[in-house]
Point group: D2
Chain length 438, copies 4
């Protein structure tokens, strides 16, 4: 451990109370994808006070790339709700349409590389348990918002991000280059990253870091820096519209949306495996028809494709779209395909992963450094990773261990708050490693 490491540990330890308090405040007022008006409002104000150059709203979110956005009515209701829970009305107004992303940057006095850090802010569509022993209930910070709960730890991610921002600012005289903090909405359903990346704000980044609590590292004190196997994914809804008819009296007059959807589902699952690596397809939901004796005039499929690489996933999603359209044509029904989410495939840059591993070892705060972790799932941090790597930069995603009360997305989810400090230390430590004046 060198002097810088020690300084970071000290700074983080001093902030621990504030970090926990902030996490609990965010936990109490969870906001689901594209409705993070209060959370973003707090993030903006905090970062402005710290001295960052803060952008948000349409400057950081490309509207046409937003996926799975709630209806306008819901967004309006949520804006009111956020204001009633303390969000700044002027800021909320500028985030109209759900553009709740925030990008804060600071250029240090000395030239150097550009470092990007990404933190996700959204909560899950879930209701928190009312069981008395659940700590958020015991300690009074359980969700007060219906159908919203931080069951994936993004309250912690946001809180950690603000603490890291504070520490880096306190160390600004020792650092070179630029730091860019991306507070991302709508990670759940992998809906938000694309709209931020497409803003171009990540195009100049040399090093990109992200992190998650408790996933594939479910004990406090663990850390995994060498993460590979992000599955690229696309999420679609396909809505079929046919023509109803009485199934006894005039079946030939109907146009059967249910059979179009059923034949689509079957043939979607028959998409050929890809010889370059892992692929996946899942039609998770099929709802069709209204009455037993009516030719079904409507059907919806909710599906997703995945691939070990973006190329494989593109193969899968291209096949999927053609099959869905052909199924509609087969039954002479209309179909509307809507992109509901997506993530890229990829792997941590080995070099950067090794650097962080060195920092983790040097900090000497982790019990176990997991040598390699196969992600095997999807996270839209991968869009940042892909963009940065394409531009010649390096990217890495860390798994910060945390004891969990229950699995992710469970109504009993909670995590060991000691991991908040550990996350702040490894992220700030890595940032210092990369930006320290030489």
């Amino acid at each position: 451990m060198d002097a810088v490491d020690k300084k970071i540990i000290n700074l983080a330890d001093k902030l621990q109370g504030a970090i926990v308090a902030r996490r609990r405040d965010l936990h109490k007022y969870p906001e689901t994808a594209w409705t993070e008006f209060r959370t973003a409002s707090i993030v903006i104000k905090t970062l402005q006070q710290l001295g960052y150059d803060v952008q948000f709203g349409e400057a950081v979110i490309v509207e046409s790339k937003m996926m799975g956005v709630p209806s306008e009515i819901i967004l309006e209701d949520q804006m009111k709700r956020a204001i009633s829970q303390g969000a700044d009305p002027d800021l909320v107004k500028k985030m109209i349409g759900g553009k709740t992303g925030v990008v804060a940057s600071y250029k240090f006095s000395k030239p150097g590389p550009v470092l990007g850090l990404r933190f996700d802010m959204d909560a899950n569509d879930a209701n928190e348990t009312t069981e008395a022993n659940h700590r958020p209930n015991k300690c009074g910070f359980a969700s007060v918002n219906a159908n919203a709960m931080h069951a994936c730890g993004h309250d912690g991610h946001t809180s950690v991000g603000l603490a890291v921002a504070e520490i880096l600012m306190q160390m600004k005289d020792e650092l070179a280059g630029t730091v860019k903090l991306f507070f991302q909405p709508a990670e759940e359903g992998v809906r938000g990253a694309k709209a931020m990346v497409e803003s171009g704000l990540a195009d100049d980044i040399d090093y990109m870091l992200g992190a998650h609590f408790g996933f594939k590292a479910n004990k406090t004190g663990q850390i995994a820096c060498n993460v590979t196997g992000f599955l690229a994914t696309s999420k679609f809804d396909a809505e079929f519209t046919g023509v109803p008819a009485h199934a006894g009296a005039a079946p030939e007059v109907g146009r059967n949306a249910l059979l179009a959807a059923a034949t689509a589902a079957l043939n979607l699952h028959a998409i050929s495996r890809h010889s370059d690596g892992t692929s996946r397809i899942n039609v998770g939901v099929l709802n069709a028809g209204s009455g037993r004796n009516v030719i079904p005039a409507n059907a919806i499929l909710k599906l997703e494709t995945r691939g070990a690489t973006s190329t494989i996933n593109e193969y899968m999603s291209k096949e999927a779209k053609r099959i869905i359209e052909a199924a509609a044509q087969m039954y002479e029904v209309k179909v509307k395909i809507t992109e509901m989410g997506g993530a890229a495939g990829g792997n941590n840059t080995k070099n950067l992963a090794d650097k962080i591993t060195t920092v983790a070892q040097r900090l000497d705060i982790f019990n176990e450094i997991i040598p390699h972790s196969d992600f095997g799932a999807s996270e839209d941090f991968s869009y940042f990773m892909e963009r940065v790597q394409k531009n010649g930069g390096q990217a890495a995603y860390m798994m910060v261990g945390a004891d969990l009360a229950a699995g992710h997305h469970d109504s009993y989810f909670d995590f060991d708050e000691r991991s908040l400090g550990l996350a702040v230390k490894i992220i700030a430590g890595s940032a210092a490693e990369l930006l320290l004046q030489k």
Copy 2:
């Protein structure tokens, strides 16, 4: 027109006000399939007061043959609701489990044939329009029960049945043989007739009559006596239960109920046509799956088969069941098939139809006697028809014309109440024709 015809017309005309009042009362308190506690309670009391021998509850409904029965909780709620709306608590108690059928019989002093009359009592699962101009709203007899509305005229059928019962009793000295009145629950979804017929109470019937308002005869003053082409039908629900799994991390662990249901749906529609006549198959509803990224562990199909004859329908339903079970086996999921309704196929007995036509002509109250009507749909009166015809008896179903405010099952449905009297006259007239002392 002879003296008996005149007498019937006079008696019916005197009752017209009471018939309308009864119809409006029933319309205000509609009761859906197997919950006709209040209606049956009124029917029982009225018929007992008229001097009939009245049976109901388990004496007339074979529990194991009841189809599409609501859950116990719903039935209990409905029993309370019925009592709160005036049903006799003691009678309701005896109809526990939804056994809301009533059979009233009277043996005239002279020997003669047994005549059966069937009237259906249940309402639709629908909400009546609140539009001010809708007559039930204007005249204050719109449905007060949520999700229940008499949108098929069974309120009228019941009211007509009670009036016919009264007239026949007033003519008892002129009649011979026996009359049996079947007040049937659960005609909607063709769920109730089978359980009544299986009681054996229709086994001694020589002549069986039934009637419907406004179907294939949608002008007041029309009548069709020569009805053929009842489609036999079976209604099923098939519930598939598989095993959920994460679609990215371990898809092979799941057992996919959605694909089982989809492949069942497709192959059900591919059941071969039958060379003996019309057949039909419809999967009207398919709902499967819970989340986009979860292998779907549950699915439900709601389907129906039909056939020009019971034999063709049995072919269709046997094929259907085998296909559904094989689809479950194909995806190694469990399936539960539940019979939700059914009707037989058949045609009016020509001879009896001709007799009624003669009565209709003689009464001279109809503008138009439709010479032949192809039913082309399903009605569970056919179970009575089939049983009576098998035993060597004759059966006929009449279409009594009525001007309609909107189509059957529409939230704006209403019919011309003049047709109530016309129905009473033709049914009582036909009864007299068949039972008059020679």
Copy 3:
């Protein structure tokens, strides 16, 4: 029986030996669809000698409407084969491309209606049994042509046609109007009638007659004149062409023609029933793929649709084509749909059927006149029937009973040659009834 009837019976009886001889000659040299070069050559010469105005080749066959034509190589081989078996080389040359239809007409001196008679000439794709007791073997007239056998009695039809032609010519002074004799190729697979009808040569016909031996009347001495229920039909081949690939090494590179064909087959059978009457669909053949470990790059479906009316069949075939094309699109393979045959739906004109019945009764040569026969299959005589009826004319098809050695299309098929004379008598008798000078 009147004088004309007697005359016809006498003339036919005198010809019986020649009719049988001709039938046996044709039986020995059977010619399958579109290769009836020798048969047509005999028909042309015979009719010319009788004094008819004879047209053939492209004058009577519209090339673009010929369905299921053999390849050019096969046609050339067959032309050589026919010449080697006695066909006139000059005539054969004029029938190039398989245009083997013949239309002979004669205008009687007195004006009157136009009568059309149709006889089909082609043999089946079958090999005649070599069993010694089979009469064609015993009597030395079994097929000498490989893969060709008169197993449907068209040898008899042609022989009957020529005899009728001779009798009518012998009665020319008693007749009025015009007679047109259509000797049609390619009835098997319902491939030939359309190309003759489209020539327009049947457009002026007032009465159209056709006949078949032993179908639905399988005893010598029976006749059925009142035939209904011709099923309209369309025959298609669909050839799918994809891209092969190694199923282990690079499956995603292939384009799977087998799965396109399989999904087409399944969804074709799921085409909705039609409420206006009988419909049918059958994929009778599916052949796909080359090797177990190769993504199948080719597939062929052989299918047919049917309908109680031409409209229903058009609904079926339109649905079928769209489904096939969508299945190809679904698997990104090419598909070529070829019309291989077709027939119209329809019924005998009641009036004309009644007239023939009268003739049959008067001739007093039949043991049993079957009052009504439901055809329930397809025959392309229906194209003549449809065209004539559309133009206001009348058409009828007779079933002439015949004892059979085995069913139609069986390698043991043979029929009682006494029925040849009976057929000549009823056809010539009906012609006389319609054309006799008043």
Copy 4:
């Protein structure tokens, strides 16, 4: 290069002429799977003369594990053919039923490990080109057997095996332990190894070696020793038998084998991916039905499954069988599933691969040692590999480079015969490395 290496190179060089001659003789008389009577006869005699203890027939082939065996008639014909081409009639008789495997072993005087070597003998179902420039034609050793051609180099493999056997015998005083030579029939279609392995003769093996010419190493002078990614595979035929019926007249009477096969094909391709690694499914052939207007009563599917491991392939083939059986049940047809071939999955034992690499380097006869080769296909050597590895032994498969005239299984296939000597040297060299007295 040490002394032993030199000795082996010298011995092999002396044999080169004989090796080529033997290869050409075998090439001229190719024998397909389970009919290698002449080849085995030559192998047996040669090895006996060399002093090996030779077993064959039912001692080395477990009948119940033979897959894809020709019919008895074909086998008998082939036995006669083999004898007519010089096979020893007594030996052929003992190989009745196609049991054409040979196992030769020799126990050296000193104790030591057991080394297994496997060589495959069968030819392909193919016809050799008659093109004059094709070397086998130019040099007079082209196939004289119809539908049989050595288009995969197994003629070379057998010839190499016999030369290795000769060299090892000449070095017997320097070697310890035991050598076992497996001359395997029916590698094409992966049909033969299982029946040999199940004999138990490979159960005591410590080191197992196999080799192939020109696959993934298509230049003379290349070699790959570190081979991984053998795909486990299962080959099936599924024959469906239904009931035919006239598609127009009585379709409901038929039992449709075509639709059973089509729905099986579709659902087979929808078997879920496996999260443990690569899987494959291919229905390569589907042939069904006889005539367009007949409900298809028969259908055959030829399919294969694959998996990165035997476990994954077992998952695939278990799923496949259940789906096929359920499809038969769905259409009420019978199905018979026949195992037509199979191979295990697996990888070379790293340790043994490294040893051979060392030998290859030391011999100094290869231009290029390919460091790693991903097999990505199936070879039933894997059954030997799996068995030996399960028993704690080591196994490796080598790719011996060879210039090719055309790809494997092509009618123009031929390979550079210099590679024969190279193969003999690396195999004998590796054997010496493993068995040399210490």
